[in-house]
Amino acid sequence: MSPIVEGFSALLDPTVALCVLAGAVLGMLVGAFPGLTATMAVALASGFTLALDPIPGLAVLLTIYVSANFGDRVPAILVNTPGTPASIATTFDGYAMAKQGRAGLALTSSAFASAIGTVVGVVLLMVAAIPLSRLALQFGPAEMFALVVFGLTMMIGVSGGRITKGLMAGVLGLLLGAVGRDPITGAARFTFGIPELSEGVPFIAAIIGLFGIAEVFEQVLTHRPSKVKPITQFGKWFPTREDWREMGKPLVIGGGVGSVVGAVPATGGDIAGIIAWDQARRRSKRPERFGKGSLEGITAADTSSNATLGGSLTTTLSLGIPGDSVMAVMIGSMVIWGIQPGPSLFTGSPELVYSIAGLMLVATVLTLGISLLRMRGVVKLLELPPHFLWAVVLVFCMVGTYAVNNNVFDVGVMLVFGLVGLFLRRFGVPPGPIVLGLLLGELAEGNLRRALEIGGVGNIATSPIAVAILTVSVLALVVPPLREGLRRRRSARAADTETARSGEHVG
């Protein structure tokens, strides 16, 4: 049977339909609540999807991934607060449109743009995943080590704040990945005689702690009642033919930008949305409207941030390097199901790429339908007091973590990581590189060791692919601070010149 037919026919199981529906509802709710992210929801869902078969389990996780990127536009448009970071750029024009009495149009055009963006990403996944994995099959230990470094540095580069803090977080993650048995000799490392640690730090417990518990703790610690009331005047809902014409160019720009940004490891919809919004503004006939309620602006941002989903999946599944933080979490579940993302995945089971693409498409259509029908109801959710949400997330995190191995030790680890995550947030240390380091630690160590044993440092230095990837990694770390330094120096110089001029005038 052809992989395409085999892949799509795996979705005909009624359990899969139920899982997609559950994932869509859960994802929309998670997206609509500011404070809950897709990463957190997928981490939480990992606890109860591990009992399912891989395809139904993936149906839940992938649908959450897709639908959270629809639901998060609602608070972005109605209360000027992104539901998840992927909808930051939606607020630029979405809230302005809502204030102008065009909230209905903003919500529906955002939903259409998000759906089109996701489909663009899925097409990229279907076209590029298998060729990319074939190319990556040629990679030896040196190239694989370089790829791991690349993934880590990209996440550090885009995490914001000082690069050194991101690097420290990455190294901490790699150190956590060293807990357990040495991958080659089997010697116990940092297990302190605790049998549960001989398999390493429980990954699901760690990510639920870092993303779920820490998030709730942070909100509890800093919560202040919001004075912003959701917009309730919606105006017209569906775009006219003229509106669609206006949306054409930003749809193309958003789709292109999102596909490229999504394929870069560790970058997500937040960055893609902002870049596409800016690109659309530069190419618009009416750039002055951007940020003041432009339909072009919201379309470009939402198409782009959703187009990253396919690119991100492509990188994750073909190379084994997470395309974004949701994928970092999802890899943990995949490994438990026996699916090892990486170059050999699609050569062994090419039908999986079509099953995943099919799931994404079904999830997109379903979520678009829900988005167009149920937007008014979601407004009421925005008025729900946060204490209900905090209690639900905390208890679900605990029970979900326990359910992975039926072990209270995991719950303790989760709580410890929750407190560590809170500490990191308070001191501006990004948690993403820690998760990535924990996930990729064994891959990094094993490949570096093999590369060095085969031919010493020369084995890495003489591989053009490894050198190119490592060069890009270094540039990703060095260029942003250099650019920032130059920008500061220029503005300081401009300020000095201005002061000197005004001094002359006074004199």
Binding site: F48, A86, A89, F92, S159, M168, A187, A188, F211, R224
Partner: protein, 170 residues
């Protein structure tokens, strides 16, 4: 220009996205992670010495990777401390914690620890209803709907999902 708050990219949580007061970054806020990193690096170095060397099957002992990482962490911590001391940034600081928030947080952690003990002695359904009610009360929920109906319904959903459908021994 956009009026919305722009959180740090990288999907690390929407708390970053939530609007909040921002203060200039203090030296202390930068030095604490550096000191923590330094202490952790040194502790790992000490612990690494306790890892058995192995039978010399390969050219690399099980110690070399964590040792290398610990040294890297120490170097990065020192560099970060030096950079932060020399040029304290003025970027966004995290939202300011409130006194009520801190009290609530401590009581939440204690409640969760207490739940661990309670679960050991009392049936999951009963202890979880108590936990939900306590968490809701501590975070500001009041009234019979918040403290009775909500805990019972959510515990029911939780038990149905994990205990009945997924057959997790709760």
């Amino acid at each position: 220009m956009p009026a919305a708050p722009i959180p740090a990219p990288g999907e690390s949580g929407a708390a970053e996205a939530a609007p909040g007061p921002s203060r200039p970054r203090s030296r202390l806020r930068e030095l604490v992670p550096a000191l923590a990193g330094l202490a952790l690096g040194l502790a790992v170095l000490v612990l690494t010495a306790q890892i058995p060397e192995g039978a010399g099957l390969t050219g690399f002992s099980p110690r070399w990777w964590p040792e290398g990482l610990a040294l890297l962490l120490i170097v990065l911590s020192v560099v970060h401390a030096a950079l932060s001391w020399a040029r304290p940034g003025a970027g966004e600081a995290p939202s300011e914690a409130t006194r009520t928030g801190a009290l609530r947080l401590v009581s939440l952690v204690l409640t969760i620890l207490g739940y661990g003990v309670l679960w050991y002695f009392i049936d999951f359904r009963v202890s979880t209803v108590v936990l939900f009610a306590a968490l809701t009360y501590l975070t500001g929920g009041r009234g019979w709907k918040a403290l009775l109906v909500f805990p019972v319904v959510t515990t029911g959903v939780l038990y149905l999902l994990f205990g009945v459908l997924l057959r997790v021994p709760l």
